[in-house]
Assembly symmetry: D2
Homo-oligomer: 369 residues x 4
């Protein structure tokens, strides 16, 4: 089966649209009736993609304007599927003719051409463009609104760009306050400055850099997540790997667990203020695929932008001969800043799904007054 | 929805059974008719879990004997669902009474108790025991047989245990030859020896160690994997995070991409022997969620065994007071060796799924002579 | 889980929109790349809903204009999801205020209000309006185009309206030629005339009539349909019962089988022109949930339009007292004519799904020249 | 995709096994923890298949003994998947050699052979035998137990066999009291007698008869069922058409709606004892795909047993020549009596699914004391 543009079982997100087609849109199905939400709420999340400094992150010249086509009536969700989209206003497709035959290294061009027999919309990467993540953000806006009703907050931010890492322990307050003050979306404003330089340096060399986005989810109740195969970590990881450019995902201590002893890694239980807590959180808030009640902590490794202006080797597929390619057009020297709200949305969508599945979010939110 | 014991859309794996219940079993649905396979083929894969050195990996005293209950007739799959199981022979459940009220740190005990209202079968971890991965291996045996018909080989092996890492580049020949010669399932036999010592040292201290399992899949054709939401990396990651104890998953250069420049990370194309190849494989064989034709390379971080004999802090849930726990019973000081065939099976199952989805594996394998 | 606006596993149809919202739309996911199709092809199918005689079937004053938002590029499907919609131009919602509290007999008003806590968009029936079947027809247009490539033809037509039934055996030629010549979509033009009268008589009395739509699918290859739970008849029936107003579905001899002997009902095999055929087709082309190679024949019973101008008893839900209701607005005295293309589309969608599942339709239709 | 042995999204039923293989089994996934149930509860439902009069319905000589392999612990469901099966004790497979090449009219033999390339287990019809409906009944036993906790009762019974029909209005009391007193499972004991004669007459002529099974579900709350595509009637119909031999399904007035006026067919609302009711129930308890609060009433047409001892025409597939076949072995002259508990189970499974989906059945049934 080729169909693969839907995710989720209870909070089902179906996306459509291409980079240079008419629009990028999403249908969210399964959101209970009675959630107060407006076009503006969704717009605000989409606006988080607008760069603070255009020299660091490229921007389409015209702002994406969210339109809701269905599922919201009189300021509330109705229980019917919510379709929302942004129109593509300024597609300059001529630029992309080159990639029809010469695949860009690091891009989906080559496998896509083989898979779809050459029929895929190659303009701007088509369905494989980072632009489609607007759909993730629109779905995430709805998910976040729903989670908010139940006290759950999801926060993503950059912790690593190029060689620069956040070393200190970030407080939630800092994350809330600083993330969107920083053009690179890093709440450690000192390191954020160094990250900017890292990006500008790569850019000046016609190159790009990668990074790591971390995401925490607060106040997820205990027992959310469905083992064996729909465990919470598995579903978050699946959604994150569906975000273009993600090459690694880890929870809590992550890859460091390899070197830890059980006695170091196990998070022991204690009672604090009447609640059961763990004194550490190496598990990243997930045990046996279920939330433990501690903050969920996940990190995603983002590769450096594949589109670079440096000349690279490639192959002309129609001639079957080696050639060189220089990717033209406006490209981000680092996609981490744009990836931050996408990662946040991805995690929020999975949490909405699983809080519905666990029955934490009921099927009817309220009765209309 | 609580149902979550099935995975896959075309090669659907449904598992059942508990650590100390009657059996651990699996139903594989969607395998095309005409695949030659026997109970013995599945037994061979399950036997890979038998430790070479019992001081390193614990073993149930009686060997698991695979029984096929349906779906195979006259030496071939019939197209009907294949149910296969192993009976649990030696469950000593008394040992587990302690954990009914005092959750073991690092285990699923606490969230499971909350989630299932106390009705979950807690004996031996019940549904959350590593034992259920026998089901993964039985499903993997069928998947590997199917993939083999189409030239695809999947190989997993340990590359890191505790502080010991494989540093050299392993050849496929070495991996094939050495993995199962080593009690820790590491094809670098020198490092394997050091890994054994790492495990024995932890064990002697009543402690445990973690590690990293790597898996390569060879000769997967270009274009396997279904973007956006069922991308090949996302589905492999989901299945791997469903393996108990996995805390991180990365492909190719993985978390290192954060620090790479685009010009370093991009795998440039070339022609080799008439085929399109990339000169590096930082992508781990996956671009845009589809196979690129290069070997798929994935790594999973395995946490140190949660069950350790050292005393740990915990909480008595019925009394709501802090207490101490010392986990009794026979436990592996390191589960990496047992995780190796499980990771291999998990990857094989996802590849079978996606090669069916892409149409690389046809619906009818052959006509009966 | 509340999400329920998608159907299919390989040819996945997700619909959205409301009667008086902004639009009615559909996303078709899983259609292979390389299918030649245009907005106009879809428009033609939607146009089949336009009545020949407005006194028999009501029409919106402005024609529905199909817009394709994604998934078609340069005249071919790309393999990406196809989103297509019609905008709602003339919603006069004031008319519907009455039904907010007083449910119309025979409509979904009452259970919908309870289910969605009063938040459902009640205007024009909202999500429960027959108007949403435009989405079925748009999806059906794509399905029919795809089926056509593989020689399969799907034809629906009215066989019963009120007390008037088609008694004679219709030929395929007659069906192709006459169905859309008749305002009631009945290829027996004599009986069609009597059906018109049946409708006009009911209308003149402020009442409505029901009917039966039959659908045949020709040249479906043997073995399409997936037992046990996704059998071809089960999936066709599910899709047909999802069409508003359908109250019964039967295949071949249908309910008459109750009174037949096995020796009468069994369709015996013979060889005709080198092919295996059955001499009768009481099975309606389906055996054991799989196509037999004979024409698939299915009938759906359509209830009389619930909206009638005659006064009816109902209950005022806000006051919890009995009251009377007279449904206002423009309503079809019989929805059978409009249901004909919807039934045809529903059957076509299920056949596209199952021909993909059986591998009869390949994953790549062709290579781009 | 070939996988098709699972149904449901919340209450997921996966079945496996063949008529002459080792067993027939089922995995039920998604049943909440805390449901009191035992092997004996399931056995009781399976025992309903045992005929009262063996001259009317054939029986395997050894009784089917239900074994529960997983998911039930200490008398309650645990939240883990429940696997339960019956072993096949007396398979005499030699009898079936004849059908390898000569398909029996009315059976799945011919399409199955084509679909599975000849690899399907043809013995006793294999996967297409009525025997697999034991799996439906075991799943139904769990569903009925779960529904019972929430006051819902499901009752099936024969209303038509051959030319004999129940004409009078049956009371619920009669249905409860008489159905299993009658060898044909018809609560109208007078008509039941005539039905027996109908069966014996057909049998004496080496022939078989069909019939109609009706099923009512009482006290289903308003608003159960998920429009558009998972409507309650659609899902019940899908499950019923998955029962071998069903050729038609209708709700309430069913096919009679074609001839009714809207004013006759609409069920008008009234208040009775403080509840909203309808004065008639032509809708069969379902409006817009959701339960209306009235009894759900559905009927399934069951074809006459395909296996008859009368000689019939067929084709030898290996020789591609016409031939004659006389089906040997022990066969039911009428399968309606055995179909009654299967239909009841099928409806119960769908109701369990949908009451979970609607949130009427919560995720945690109770806390363990």
């Amino acid at each position: 089966m080729l169909a693969s543009d839907s995710i989720g079982k209870e909070f089902v997100v179906t996306c459509f649209g291409e980079s240079h087609g008419r629009c990028v849109g999403v249908v969210v199905d399964g959101c209970p009736a009675g959630l107060p939400i407006s076009e503006r709420d969704i717009q605000e999340e989409v606006d988080k993609r607008i760069p603070l400094k255009p020299q660091i992150v490229s921007a389409r010249r015209e702002k994406d304007v969210v339109e809701v086509l269905s599922g919201i009536f009189d300021g509330f969700t109705t229980g019917a599927p919510i379709c929302t989209l942004v129109w593509n206003k300024e597609a300059v497709s001529g630029e992309y003719d080159q990639i029809r035959d010469v695949p860009r290294p690091g891009h989906a061009d080559y496998p896509a051409r083989i898979k779809y027999g050459g029929f895929n919309d190659y303009r701007g990467g088509g369905r494989f463009s980072g632009r489609i993540t607007v759909a993730f953000v629109m779905a995430g806006a709805i998910a976040k609104k729903l989670l908010g009703l139940f006290g759950v907050e999801v926060l993503a931010y950059a912790v690593e760009i190029g060689k620069v890492k956040v070393e200190k322990k970030l407080t939630i307050e800092e994350i809330r306050r600083n993330t969107y003050k920083s053009p690179v979306r890093c709440p450690d404003l000192g390191r954020a400055k160094a990250m900017e330089e890292e990006i500008l340096k790569a850019k000046s060399e016609g190159d790009s850099v990668g990074g790591v986005v971390e995401c925490v989810a607060l106040k997820v109740p205990v027992g959310v997540g469905e083992p064996i195969f729909d465990s919470l970590d598995a579903d978050i990881a699946k959604m994150l790997f569906d975000v273009p450019a993600v090459k690694g995902v880890e929870f809590g201590a992550g890859f460091k667990v390899a070197q830890l002893r059980g006695s170091e890694n196990n998070d022991v239980y204690a009672i604090s203020g009447g609640d059961i807590v763990t004194l550490t959180n190496n598990a990243g808030g997930i045990l046996g695929g279920m939330s433990s009640g501690m903050p969920i902590v996940v990190r995603a490794a983002i590769k450096p932008t594949s589109s670079i202006s440096k000349e690279q080797k490639s192959v002309d597929l129609s001639e079957m001969e080696e050639t060189l390619i220089r990717v033209r057009g406006r490209h981000d020297p680092c996609i981490v800043p744009k990836a931050v709200p996408v990662v946040e949305s991805a995690v929020a969508v999975v949490l909405a799904e699983h809080m519905l599945r666990a029955g934490v979010i009921p099927k009817v939110l309220r009765e209309k007054g």
